[in-house]
C-alpha cells in the first residue's frame, strides 16, 4: 500500500478508488433512502424535491384492511416456513457433515439446487403438482413452496458452522463414554447454534421476500406483502407502497443486525 502512495499518481489513484467506492456504495443505498423519504412525503406522487412531510401514508397502510391482511399472512408464512425449514435443513447438514459419506457431493448439490433454479420454473411446476394434491390456494401449499426455496440456506449456514466445529471434541466426548446423543446435545449443538439461528433468519427473509411462487400457488384472497406490492407497482404507484416498503426495510435492518450479531468475529461476512 505504501508503495503506491509514494508517487503523486499513486495518491491520485488511491483517491480515485475511494471516490469510486463511495459512488458505488451510494448507488447501493440511494434507492432505499429515497423510498424511505418518499414514504413521509405529503403529496401523493413521487416527484422531487419533497416539499411537505406527513405520516398519512403510514396511517393508510396500517388502517387498510388489505395491507394488514397481507402483513399478517406474510408473517404467518415466514414464521411457519422458518419452523419447518430450520429443523429439516439442520438435520440434513448434520448428516452431510460425515466426511466419508458415499454420494455426499451429489446429495449436497441436489439439496442446494433450489437456490439456483429459475423461480418461474419452480413456481409453475409446483402449481402443476400441488393442484393435483389440492394444495393450491391453501396456506399449507404456500408454506411447503416457501420452505423448499428457503431450506438450502439453512443447509449452507449450518454446514458452514459444522466445518468450524473441532471434531476432536466429539472424539473426546465419546472416549469419555458419552453416548452419541449426549455428545450431540452437549458439544455439537451449542457450537452450531449460531449457524442454525442465522439459517433460520435466512429462511425467514427468503419467505418474506418470495413473490413468484406465491403468485402461482396463492388463491385470489391469499395476499402477502410482496404480492400486494407487485400488484400495485404494476398498476399505479401509490405512496402507500413507499410506507409498506419502509416497513419491510425496517424488518431487513432487524434481520441484518440479528445476523451480524450471530456471525462471530473473524468469520467472513459473506453469508
Amino acid at each position: 500500500m505504501s508503495g503506491i502512495r509514494q508517487t503523486p499518481a499513486g495518491r491520485f489513484g488511491h483517491f480515485g478508488l475511494g471516490l469510486t467506492a463511495a459512488l458505488v456504495l451510494a448507488f447501493l443505498m440511494a434507492p432505499l433512502i429515497v423510498i424511505v423519504l418518499f414514504s413521509f412525503k405529503d403529496s401523493g406522487d413521487f416527484a422531487f424535491p419533497i416539499t411537505g412531510w406527513s405520516l398519512k401514508w403510514y396511517r393508510t397502510f396500517f388502517t387498510t384492511q388489505t395491507w394488514m391482511e397481507a402483513l399478517k399472512n406474510s408473517l404467518i408464512l415466514a414464521v411457519s416456513t422458518t419452523l419447518l425449514a430450520t429443523p429439516l435443513g439442520t438435520m440434513a447438514a448434520l448428516g452431510l457433515a460425515a466426511p466419508q459419506l458415499p454420494g455426499r457431493r451429489l446429495i449436497s448439490a441436489f439439496l442446494l439446487i433450489p437456490m439456483i433454479a429459475p423461480v418461474v420454473i419452480v413456481g409453475i411446476g409446483m402449481y402443476f403438482v400441488f393442484s393435483m394434491a389440492g394444495l393450491t390456494a391453501t396456506l399449507p401449499g404456500l408454506i411447503l413452496g416457501h420452505t423448499s426455496l428457503a431450506v438450502p440456506f439453512v443447509v449452507v449456514t449450518v454446514s458452514a458452522a459444522l466445518t468450524g466445529l473441532d471434531r476432536r471434541l466429539l472424539w473426546a466426548a465419546a472416549s469419555m463414554g458419552a453416548p452419541p446423543f449426549l455428545a450431540f446435545r452437549k458439544v455439537t449443538l451449542p457450537a452450531i447454534l449460531p449457524g442454525v439461528a442465522s439459517g433460520a433468519l435466512f429462511a425467514f427473509a427468503t419467505s418474506l421476500d418470495e413473490v413468484v411462487v406465491t403468485m402461482f400457488l396463492a388463491g385470489p384472497g391469499q395476499r402477502t406483502l410482496p404480492r400486494e406490492m407487485f400488484t400495485i407497482a404494476r398498476d399505479t404507484l401509490t405512496p402507500t407502497i413507499a410506507a409498506a416498503a419502509t416497513v419491510l426495510i425496517a424488518a431487513s435492518i432487524v434481520l441484518l443486525i440479528a445476523s451480524n450479531a450471530l456471525s462471530r468475529p473473524g468469520t467472513s461476512s459473506a453469508r
Binding site: M1, G3, I4, G13, L17, T20, A21, V24, L25, L28, P31, L32, V34, I35, F38, F46, A47, F48, P49, L94, G95, L96, A98, L101, F110, I113, P114, I116, A117, P118, V120, I121, V122, I124, G125, Y127, F128, V129, F130, L144, G145, T147, S148, V151, V155, P180, A205, D209, V211, V212, P226, M229, A233, R234, L237, A245, L248, N260, S269, A270
Partner: protein, 394 residues
C-alpha cells in the same frame, strides 16, 4: 470400529432423508413435471386414437396409406367436442387453419348418408397435401419433440429433415438471445462497479470494512420488490434522477428511464451487485499485498504488475461472481416485468405467459427446459471452478 462407522453412515442418511424426500416431492417432482410436459403431446392420440396409430407407422413422406384416411374419417365421426377443441388448439400451433379444416370435415362426414364414408380427399383439398398430414404426424404423440423444437424455432420435416419453423423469423431464439444479452450486460456492469469497491474495501481495516459492508448487506437483505419499487420511483419522468439532472442543467427534457432497457439493467445491476461483491471481496482479501509491491520494486510498471500479478490472483473471485450474477439473472421475472417495456421481457416472462395466458403448456415447458438446462450447466461449471480455486461462497 467398522460396525460403528457403518452405523454412523446409516445415521447420516437417516438425518438427510427427511429433507431429501421433502425436496423430492416439493421441488424435484414439480421440476420433473416441466420436463415431462415439454415432450408430452397427448391431444391427437386422445381425440383420434386410430389415426394416431396409422400416423405412427407412416413414414411421413408423400401421402399416408388409405388406412389412415379411413381411420381419420372414423375417428372424426366419433370424437367428442372437448377432445376436438383441444386437438384444434394443439394443431393451430402448426397452422391456425386446422380448426376450420377439422370442423368442416367433421360436419361433412356427419352430413353424409349413414353407411357411406366419403373420401376425405374430395371433401377438402388440404387432405391431399403432405404438409397437412406431416403436421398431424408431428402431433401423433404420446411423446414428441415438437414443443422443444418449436422453442428453438425449429420444426421436423419428414421429407427434408429438421429446419426453421418460420423462414426468416426466429421468435423464441430472439427471446433467448435477449435474455442472455440482459444477463451478460448485468454481469459485466456489476463486475465494473464491484471491482473498485472491493479493491477499496480489501485495503481497509476490519472495523472500517465491516462498517462499510453494512451498506452492501442492507440492500442485500431488503426485499427485491422493495428495491424494484424504489427504482420505479427514482426513474420516473419527474423522479429524483431526472429532476437532479435537469437542475444541474445536463438535460432540458426528462430522459426516458423507465419501461425500457436502461431501467431493467439499472434495477438488475442493483439487485445483483451484492452477489458480485461477496466472492470478489473474498478473493481480493486472500491476496498477499507484498507480491504486488515486490513486482513494483523489481521494476514492473503499476499497470504491468496489476495485469500480471494482481489480476491472476483475483480471477477466481471474478469468475465466481460473474457466473453467479449471470446465472441468477437469467431466471429473473419480477424486476423486468415492473421496470421493463414489452421489448425487455426475459424468458421467464414468456414461460409464465404461455402457462397462464395462452395455455400453451408444451411451449412454456420447453422454454423452461432450455432455461433449466443452461442454468444447471453453468451451476456445474461454477461448482467445478469454486472447488478448484477454493473460494467459498454459498
Amino acid at each position: 470400529m467398522f460396525k460403528g462407522q457403518r452405523g454412523g453412515l446409516l445415521r447420516s442418511y437417516a438425518l438427510i432423508a427427511p429433507l431429501f424426500l421433502f425436496l423430492l416431492a416439493t421441488f424435484l417432482l414439480p421440476v420433473g413435471m416441466i420436463l415431462w410436459r415439454s415432450v408430452f403431446d397427448p391431444e391427437l392420440r386422445a381425440a383420434l386414437p386410430a389415426t394416431a396409430v396409422e400416423l405412427s407407422s407412416w413414414s411421413g413422406q408423400g401421402l399416408p396409406p388409405a388406412a389412415a384416411y379411413t381411420a381419420l374419417a372414423g375417428d372424426l365421426r366419433n370424437v367428442d367436442g372437448a377432445s376436438l377443441a383441444s386437438l384444434s388448439r394443439r394443431l393451430s400451433y402448426e397452422n391456425p387453419g386446422f380448426r376450420a379444416l377439422l370442423q368442416s370435415t367433421k360436419r361433412k362426414l356427419e352430413a353424409a348418408p349413414a353407411g357411406v364414408t366419403p373420401d376425405l380427399a374430395t371433401l377438402d383439398p388440404q387432405w391431399r397435401a403432405n404438409s397437412t398430414w406431416q403436421a398431424m404426424k408431428r402431433a401423433a404423440g404420446p411423446v414428441g419433440t415438437f414443443h422443444i423444437l418449436s422453442a428453438l424455432d425449429l420444426r421436423r420435416n419428414y421429407e427434408t429433415g429438421i429446419g426453421p419453423a418460420r423462414p426468416g423469423a426466429a421468435l423464441y431464439r430472439s427471446i433467448i438471445l435477449r435474455t442472455f444479452a440482459i444477463a451478460s450486460t448485468t454481469a459485466v456492469l456489476a463486475l465494473v462497479l464491484a471491482f473498485p469497491l472491493c479493491a477499496f474495501l480489501a485495503r481497509q481495516s476490519d472495523r472500517v470494512r465491516n462498517l462499510l459492508l453494512l451498506m452492501v448487506l442492507l440492500p442485500f437483505w431488503t426485499s427485491i420488490l422493495v428495491r424494484t419499487t424504489a427504482w420505479l420511483a427514482l426513474l420516473q419522468d419527474r423522479g429524483v434522477i431526472n429532476t437532479l439532472l435537469m437542475e444541474m442543467g445536463l438535460i432540458d427534457q426528462p430522459m426516458k428511464l423507465l419501461y425500457n432497457r436502461i431501467g431493467v439493467i439499472t434495477a438488475l445491476v442493483h439487485v445483483m451487485l451484492p452477489f458480485m461483491i461477496f466472492p470478489l471481496l473474498a478473493s481480493m482479501r486472500s491476496i498477499d499485498p507484498r507480491l504486488f509491491r515486490a513486482a513494483l520494486s523489481l521494476g514492473a510498471t503499476p499497470l504491468y504488475a496489476f495485469r500480471r500479478v494482481y489480476l491472476p490472483q483475483v480471477m477466481p473471485g471474478v469468475m465466481a461472481g460473474t457466473l453467479m450474477v449471470f446465472v441468477v439473472t437469467l431466471g429473473f421475472y419480477v424486476t423486468p416485468m415492473l421496470v421493463g417495456g414489452p421489448g425487455d421481457q426475459m424468458i421467464s416472462y414468456y414461460i409464465a405467459l404461455y402457462t397462464t395466458g395462452t395455455l400453451n403448456w408444451g411451449l412454456a415447458s420447453s422454454l423452461g427446459l432450455i432455461l433449466l438446462v443452461v442454468t444447471l450447466l453453468l451451476y456445474a461449471v461454477q461448482n467445478a471452478l469454486l472447488r478448484r480455486s477454493g473460494v467459498g461462497v454459498r
